[in-house]
């Protein structure tokens, strides 16, 4: 049996190298000798979330995000059912808004996400930078990410994905970032998060592979992360 992956809105929500997450997962599954298949679905397409093991969505500019939000909002019930059935979700960058409540734009316009997460977002001035973070309650492993966004959220999640040591959280003054609920990972951090954080990749691959999971050997990814963290540490001094 194949592990089935659904990439959402690939032509709208892959503008920050988010496809790296798909590359990382599929390569690891291949290394484990597991078969996988990837389907892509966009505006107006059927999205039977429950039939997939992993659902991915990535960062998008505002115009594309709005198109995807309009399409996603009516699919809330199917999304919720898949989430409760333990499907793995990874939503990076602005894709996080697809799962949230209202998104209030500077123009005054307000759009709704699927309301799976109890958080609302608003458009603000642009932030750009790096994040070094740990996972709350999950040890001292440092995670690395970048943000380039014009969004923030007030709602402090009961289960944040990250606690930032460097950089900003859900809003500039916040230290917590993202949402981690069961198998759902949602973060403003953009791009190839799983490539940059091999530990997170292994966590997700282990969930997908189950008993067939085996730890990974050496990789350029881990070396690259160590080098980046070391550079950031030096810059802090």
């Amino acid at each position: 049996m194949s592990i089935r992956i659904l990439q959402l809105y690939p032509e709208l929500m892959n503008l920050s190298g988010d496809i790296g997450n798909l590359m990382a997962v599929t390569r690891r599954l291949s290394e484990l000798g597991l078969r996988w298949e990837v389907d892509r679905a966009s505006v107006g397409d059927p999205m039977p979330f429950g039939e997939y093991d992993l659902i991915l969505a990535g960062n998008a500019p505002l115009s594309a995000l709005l198109a995807a939000m309009r399409d996603m909002a009516p699919r809330a019930a199917e999304l919720r059912a898949a989430m409760e059935a333990g499907r793995v979700f990874l939503f990076t960058g602005s894709a996080r808004c697809l799962l949230g409540g209202d998104l209030r734009l500077r123009s005054g316009q307000c759009l709704s996400g699927a309301r799976i997460l109890a958080e609302s977002h608003r458009e603000v001035a642009r932030f750009t930078g790096e994040v070094v973070a740990t996972r709350p309650g999950m040890g001292n492993t440092a995670y690395l990410g970048s943000f380039d966004r014009e969004l923030e959220t007030d709602a402090a999640s009961e289960r944040p994905l990250f606690q930032t040591l460097r950089g900003i959280g859900d809003k500039p003054e916040a230290i917590y970032e993202g949402v981690f609920r069961g198998n759902l990972y949602a973060t403003y951090l953009l791009g190839p998060l799983l490539v940059r954080n091999p530990e997170l990749l292994e966590e997700i691959v282990a969930k997908l592979a189950g008993s067939r999971y085996q730890a990974r050997g050496e990789s350029f990814d881990a070396e690259a992360k160590a080098a980046a963290l070391s550079r950031l540490e030096r810059r802090k001094i």
Partner: protein
């Protein structure tokens, strides 16, 4: 403080010669922060903007105008954006602040243009393309669209890339001229770049379909929902070869020595701008190209230890720029080694390597015997190459510039150097020095 700024700049220029670029500009801007609004331009203003291709269009347009006997001032050779532009203008200006020229040719991007715009409304504004991709150094579509909106007025003529949906839809109430390309062998509806078609219709926001993709989202598009289509191009790249330096615009062949092939659409853009500005035909424009060579920073070819070496400008942090270099290197049927020197971009998110995953390194799969990864991001690039399907044993890492020559001596074939402007020059000089020794 205009006069002291100009005087100081000119003095620095006199004392330090060509190396004075940044210092001249920086000094002038400190002494006269509103420098641009205090200068007056005698001639017409031509602005070239877009995400990519600005510099090469600007360089070719400048060459063609000078070949036609006109006095041209330009910032296209500027070292650094704002200060470099200031240096170019200070060097050209009289002490009264006049810029005596027939044409002022300006390369502008979303970051530096507000100041530039105070020089005056452009007579012609050319847009190469508008990429939405996240990339630390690529000019963002929103910033460029905002710039264009602020820059133009009723007398500005727009020269637009017909195959760029967002550009082609700009300001229909103004005079507009379009350039584009006709379909050619090897161009498909899907394209070959990792981030290719899939642009949204600028009118209705739906996904566009393509009859052919030239590269990325640039192509012959149509919107099934609202009927938007690629406008008819007034200047059309009618033939080109991916394997030889040949191209024709509106059926007129352009000089073979003009370009590396990936430069063809830029030639078409420059031709459109020159023809509209001077009121000449593409045939006459082709004549003005005689003797033009791409600046060494863009393309250099030389021999190193008996092997051919080609250096291509690829801007760090810009997936489109690197894709063009990869396409060129991968497209040559020969044994080759590719050197990818990627440093961290100068940007608040210096460690952000997202752009590497928008870059089509897959093009090198089976087409490069060896890839040498160097620079701060060498491990990130190596990781990306593994995901692109390159064998791990074909990937070599180089930690420092000094290690490069011995490492390259273990490799074979033509050497393609893909690096940033300043780095590529340094690498070539170091390798040539080693060669002579």
């Amino acid at each position: 403080m205009l006069r002291p700024a100009l005087l100081t700049g000119k003095l620095l220029r006199l004392l330090r010669g060509k190396k004075s670029g940044r210092a001249v500009g920086a000094a002038a801007l400190v002494l006269c922060p509103n420098l641009y609004s205090r200068l007056s331009v005698e001639g017409k203003i031509l602005v070239i903007t877009g995400s990519d291709g600005k510099s090469s269009v600007c360089a070719l347009v400048t060459h063609m105008l000078r070949a036609a006997g006109h006095r041209v001032v330009t910032n296209c050779e500027a070292d650094g954006r704002s200060v470099g532009t200031a240096a170019a203008l200070v060097s050209a200006a009289t002490l009264k602040g006049k810029i005596p020229c027939d044409y002022l040719v300006l390369e502008a991007d979303g970051r530096t243009s507000d100041a530039l715009l105070s020089l005056g409304k452009p007579d012609f504004l050319l847009v190469t393309d508008l990429f939405a991709h996240h990339g630390p150094t690529s000019s963002r579509r929103a910033a460029l669209l905002s710039l264009i909106d602020r820059a133009v007025d009723g007398h500005t003529r727009l020269i637009l890339n017909a195959m760029e949906p967002a550009a082609a839809d700009l300001r229909p109430e103004l005079g507009r001229t379009f350039f584009g390309a006709s379909p050619a062998e090897g161009l498909s509806a899907e394209g070959h770049n990792l981030v290719s078609a899939g642009s949204l219709c600028p009118r209705c926001g739906r996904a566009l379909s393509y009859r052919f993709v030239f590269h990325h989202h640039i192509g012959d598009y149509h919107c099934a929902h609202c009927g938007a289509v690629t406008p008819r191009a007034d200047y059309l790249l009618t033939s080109f070869s991916a394997s030889a330096p040949e191209c024709a615009v509106n059926g007129i062949p352009f000089p073979a020595e003009l370009a590396a092939p990936y430069h063809y659409l830029n030639i078409t853009a420059a031709t459109a701008l020159i023809c509209e500005t001077l009121g000449i035909t593409p045939g006459e424009a082709a004549g003005l190209c005689a003797g033009y060579r791409l600046p060494a920073a863009f393309y250099t070819e030389c021999a190193l230890k008996g092997r051919r070496a080609v250096s291509l400008l690829c801007r760090t942090g810009n997936p489109i720029s690197l894709d063009r270099g990869l396409e060129y290197a991968a497209g040559r049927a020969e044994t080759k080694t590719v050197l990818l020197w990627v440093d961290r971009p100068r940007h608040p998110a210096e460690e952000d390597v997202s752009w590497l995953y928008d870059t089509t390194f897959e093009l090198l799969r089976g087409r490069a015997e060896c890839v040498v990864c160097a620079g701060d991001c060498r491990l990130d690039v190596a990781a990306r190459l593994v995901y692109a399907g390159l064998p791990r044993e074909s990937i070599l890492l180089c930690g420092q510039e000094g290690e490069l020559a011995p490492l390259l001596s273990t490799t074979r074939g033509t050497l393609y150097i893909l690096a940033d402007r300043e780095r590529a020059g340094r690498i070539l000089r170091a390798l040539q020095k080693g060669d002579r020794a």
